[in-house]
């Protein structure tokens, strides 16, 4: 018993330190989310030959802080006949998985909070849990628009989840591990040994499914402001709305980071190994977290770009794309990949 107590006491300082690190990480993530919203308005602004927000602070850089403060001082309205408990629980349920998923993301070799061997399974579970927040919000609001939005969202997310899951199966076959660090290391070599080339159909499928999973344009019939006003969060105001908003952008960053890890080699550098010995610049050209962050930023930019470029899909078109296009593509590619792997054909002849 004494020994157990001693072990327990010895474990407290590292656990406390880790808690502090995680807390700082979550705050930094909130900062990133805030500035992704600014980036979105700026990027779409420039794509439409406008300037975007430019009043608060130099060049509009204070805008996200002003938005956050404004939302904080707004009333959170509880509609008549809404389920009081579920109405307040729903934003939390969509926020928690979007944050908790980050526990297993490696920023560089060994730079993650939890190096678990079922990392990808955990991520699949966490990204699937987000749907509960949406559907509970829709049901608890006691509003027709909210219920319609939640139903659409549930059916859409569930449909694209399948294409996404099959794309992940392809990644697992290529790397032979569920651990995210191992998946990145299996891609080591050069730009052409990263998964995006050998798994190209799965890469495209994953990216499209990721956009649909986060309910972003052109798959945003869930919000569809021209028909069901704002979908599942039409009745939310103040901090409840802020939480949904944060969760949506945290999910965008998460999906971008995952695409970078699974298909674009995470922290691996696209430049030849010898370049990293160049004085001063070498650090920037070698492997490292900056490569991972740069790739993530590229995919975040793609999300914003899609929104500015594509018109919204009709709902039946969305469902057709998910079930009749992406699903068969992934099924066929898993067959092809299985055969290639089994008979050790290129690019796996060297295994």
């Amino acid at each position: 018993m004494l020994e157990w107590a001693q072990n327990f006491m010895a474990a407290i300082p590292p656990v406390l330190l880790m808690t502090v690190y995680m807390f700082i990480f979550v705050l930094v993530l909130f900062g990133c989310v805030a500035y992704v919203t600014l980036a979105e308005r700026k990027v779409i602004g420039f794509m439409q030959v406008r300037i975007g927000p430019n009043r608060v602070g130099p060049r509009g850089f204070g805008q996200p802080i002003a938005d956050a403060l404004k939302l904080m001082f707004k009333e959170m309205i509880l509609p008549n006949d809404a389920d009081r408990f579920l109405f307040r629980l729903a934003p939390l349920l969509s926020m928690i998985p979007a944050l908790a998923a980050w526990a297993v993301i490696p920023f560089a070799d060994g730079w993650n909070f939890a190096d678990i061997n079922a990392g990808l399974l955990y991520l699949l579970a966490m990204t699937s849990l987000g749907i509960y927040g949406v559907i509970i919000a829709g049901w608890a609001s006691n509003s027709k628009y909210a219920l319609l939005g939640a139903l659409r969202s549930a059916a859409q997310i569930v449909s694209y989840e399948i294409a996404m899951g099959f794309a992940l199966v392809g990644v697992l076959m290529a790397s032979g591990s569920l651990n995210l660090g191992d998946i990145v290391e299996a891609q080591e070599g050069n730009v052409f040994t990263w998964n995006w080339l050998i798994l190209f159909p799965l890469f495209i499928t994953y990216l499209i499914a990721g956009v649909a999973e986060t309910n972003r344009a052109p798959f945003d019939v869930v919000e569809g402001e021209s028909e069901i006003v704002a979908g599942f969060h039409v009745e939310y105001s103040g901090m409840g709305f802020a939480l949904f908003f944060l969760a949506e952008y945290a999910n965008i960053i998460l999906i971008s980071a995952l695409t970078a890890l699974l298909f674009l080699g995470g922290w691996l550098s696209p430049f030849p190994e010898s370049w990293s010995s160049v004085p001063y610049l070498g650090v920037l050209l070698g492997h490292g977290p900056h490569m991972f962050i740069a790739k993530t930023c590229f995919f975040i930019f793609c999300f914003l770009w899609f929104r500015a470029t594509f018109p919204r899909y009709r709902y039946d078109q969305i469902m057709r794309l998910g079930w009749k296009v992406l699903l068969p593509i992934t099924l066929i590619w898993i067959f092809v990949e299985g055969v290639l792997l089994y008979f050790e054909l290129p690019p796996w002849w060297f295994d």
């Binding site: 959170m76 027709k144 139903l151 103040g238 469902m319 099924l331």
Partner: protein, 132 residues
């Protein structure tokens, strides 16, 4: 009472403890944000108004119950999802160990996938995937 843990279990706990702590932190941070917004506790005002608190319906008085019947196709999508998601869950361990399972593992999973593909083609032809 003597609790002994095997080395494997200890490694499991060491690896997964950060995940648990992270989930707790996510809950606490999310809860704190929500707490800030709650009426009477938070920073926002709290003024009662019948029109403000009625559910939004384009300015009309809300009629009937909002928790209405919905299209059965959503239900169908949910059922199809369960089938395919289970299939993915079956494929995960196979995909990780494809280099080790040999011919039997490879062929049996190919048969499994073919059966499911036949089911998928049947659904498609039956029109279960149509949405109009």
């Amino acid at each position: 009472m003597d609790v002994t843990w095997s080395a494997r279990e200890i490694i499991m706990i060491e690896n997964y403890l950060p995940v648990l702590i992270f989930i707790v932190i996510a809950t606490v941070v999310g809860g704190a944000i929500m707490f800030l917004g709650l009426a009477r506790i938070g920073l926002g005002p709290h003024v009662k108004d019948a029109a403000k608190e009625s559910p939004y319906e384009c300015g009309f008085e809300a009629f009937e119950d909002a928790r209405m019947q919905f299209d059965v196709r959503y239900y169908l999508v949910a059922i199809l999802f369960i089938i395919f998601d289970l299939e993915i869950a079956f494929l995960f361990p196979w995909a990780v160990s494809i280099r080790e399972v040999g011919l039997i593992g490879f062929v049996s999973m190919a048969v499994f996938l073919i059966i499911l593909t036949i089911g998928f083609i049947y659904e498609w032809k039956k029109g279960a995937l149509d949405w109009d």
